[in-house]
């Protein structure tokens, strides 16, 4: 400015001539275009954190249901029962021994456990009561066969082999039960995914509204920037960057808490392996681990909420500018 400073001096005695001038403090960082550390910004971080935590818990729960259902199915599919009807003539023990020999020699079989006559009787006690003379009853004998993990035993061939060599043997691979189990776990998984989608939708909506509320306090900033000649993209980019940071901050708090919770649960279930409580948990939830896919889902949700926050702020800036004009 080449104009003299006489214009504003005089009368009021607010002359600057000769007074020590205060230079802007160069050590102080330049203030950002978008005000930081506002109450509405902190509230937004809180909302994002809570919603990300809830969505992550839901995603983790869906992963648990999925892995537990898979394990139940795998356990059942790995076990096969051979029922040997009591022969009309001859010795049942011979038939059992023959069955055990054939099955043990069959590829893919890990373990074969024949139930003795006494064990078979004990199995029937809850239904028939004790003290009965079972000797005269044509009670079938049971052989439980466990298929080796990862092996694909040809059960059709085993069934044919048994039919040929032990006429009274019937192989039950629990196909019907597995089908029902698959239907049930499939329904549980679909239900879980549906709930997860609802929670994600609620997360997106609540984060969007919280962002708009936080943006409302910034309307004067948008107006001033617009009216002094800032282009829409310049304004939107600054707000988008700021709100992306807020979204990540909240997402990392909520998602991080969920990851910590799942990791603790994973560790705790590992510690309790072998105990009664641990076995009960393992029976219900498998390993109680959400797995790499679960952790990835939580990370994806953090990215999603941060993206939603940034996009909502950009939309609000553009809408605010449109209302100014």
């Amino acid at each position: 400015m080449s104009m003299s400073n006489a214009a504003v001096q005089g009368d009021g005695g607010q002359a600057e001539s000769g007074a020590p001038s205060a230079e802007p403090d160069r050590r102080r960082r330049t203030s950002p275009i978008v005000p930081r550390a506002t109450i509405s910004g902190r509230s937004l971080v809180g909302v994002v954190a809570i919603m990300t935590f809830l969505a992550s818990l839901t995603a983790g729960a869906v992963m648990l249901v999925r892995s537990a259902a898979n394990e139940w199915q795998a356990d059942i599919a790995r076990e096969v029962t051979i029922q040997i009807r009591a022969p009309e003539a001859g010795d049942a023990e011979t038939e059992v021994a023959k069955t055990v020999a054939i099955t043990r020699a069959f590829p893919g079989v890990a373990e074969v456990k024949p139930y003795s006559k006494d064990e078979t009787m004990r199995l029937l006690e809850p239904w028939l009561g004790s003290g009965l003379a079972f000797e005269d009853l044509p009670v079938p004998r049971i052989v439980v066969v466990r298929i080796a993990a990862g092996a694909a035993a040809d059960l059709a061939q085993l069934r044919a082999l048994l039919r040929e060599q032990v006429p009274g043997a019937v192989l039950d691979d629990h196909r019907g039960f597995v089908a029902r189990m698959r239907a049930m776990s499939g329904a549980a998984l679909i239900g879980g995914i549906f709930v997860l989608l609802l929670v994600l939708l609620a997360t997106v909506l609540s984060v969007t509204f919280a962002t708009r509320a936080a943006m409302a306090t910034n309307r004067p900033v948008i107006e001033v920037l617009h009216l002094i000649g800032a282009k829409d993209n310049f304004i939107a980019a600054h707000f988008q960057k700021h709100f992306l940071q807020l979204g990540f901050q909240g997402g990392l708090i909520g998602g991080g808490a969920a990851i910590a919770l799942f990791a603790c649960a994973d560790l705790a279930s590992a510690w309790f392996v072998g105990t009664a409580a641990g076995d009960q948990f393992a029976a219900m939830f498998g390993t109680f681990s959400i797995g790499a896919l679960g952790y990835l889902a939580v990370l994806a949700q953090i990215g999603l909420v941060a993206g939603v926050t940034a996009a909502a702020s950009r939309r609000t800036v553009i809408r605010t500018i449109e209302t100014i004009q």
Binding site: N5, I228, G229
Partner: protein, 219 residues
């Protein structure tokens, strides 16, 4: 520089607040815009600083028909216009220095390139000691001068001031008027919207008088 031809403005479906406005603002001119409350001064100023588009008529600013310009082109035109708002509109999270430098910052200039210029302007408007102060601790007069400094820092060709003396005592009002006259002498066209007849009487300038939405020009 600015040309209005048969311009009308209405908000929504309401009555016309500006009717058949025709006038020009020449380069290096100085004028007062006046009229009773509700006559449409602020609406006319908003048309001038491109915050509104007219309902009818032609508005050309710096030779451009504003109705045909894109958003980005309007933003570029706004950079040639300095605005002093009646309510100052300083950003509370920025220091006086940063508020004044904001128009240079939004056009991508580096702080090192404008620091000296902004400090000199702040001294010139009497805010040399308030460079690092935040607006909430400035007095009304200091805010007014900071708002004026922000409006002129990018050397606009047109300066629009809405009631720039409305919040200050008569002494400061006189000083601010002298400041606007200095700017005018340096080549800026100035439009001051004011009610203050005493202020207008101090300087023989063109008067644009709005009355019931119509404009009367007194050269």
């Amino acid at each position: 520089m600015v040309r209005f031809e048969h311009v009308g403005l209405r908000y929504g479906f309401g009555p016309e607040v500006l009717r058949d406005i025709t006038f020009r603002i020449d380069a290096r001119s100085f004028q007062f815009l006046t009229g009773p409350s509700g006559a449409g001064k602020t609406s006319l100023l908003r048309l001038l600083f491109l915050a509104l588009r007219p309902t009818r008529g032609l508005v050309t600013i710096f030779g451009h028909d504003v109705a045909t310009l894109s958003k980005d082109a309007l933003s570029t035109l706004r950079r040639r216009i300095g605005i002093v708002f009646q309510d100052f509109r300083l950003l509370d999270h920025m220091t006086t220095f940063e508020n004044v430098a904001l128009p240079l910052r939004v056009i991508g200039q580096n702080e090192d390139s404008y620091r000296g210029e902004v400090v000199e302007l702040l001294k010139w408007v009497g805010l040399g000691e308030r460079i690092s102060a935040l607006p909430p601790v400035l007095s009304g007069g200091e805010k007014q001068r900071a708002a004026i400094a922000r409006a002129v820092i990018a050397r606009p060709q047109l300066l629009l001031a809405d009631e720039p003396t409305g919040n200050v005592d008569p002494n400061l009002a006189q000083r601010l008027l002298r400041l606007f006259l200095e700017l005018h002498k340096s080549g800026t066209s100035v439009v001051i919207a004011t009610h203050d007849i005493a202020l207008m009487d101090q300087f023989d300038a063109r008067r644009l008088v709005l009355h019931e939405g119509r404009l009367h020009v007194y050269e």
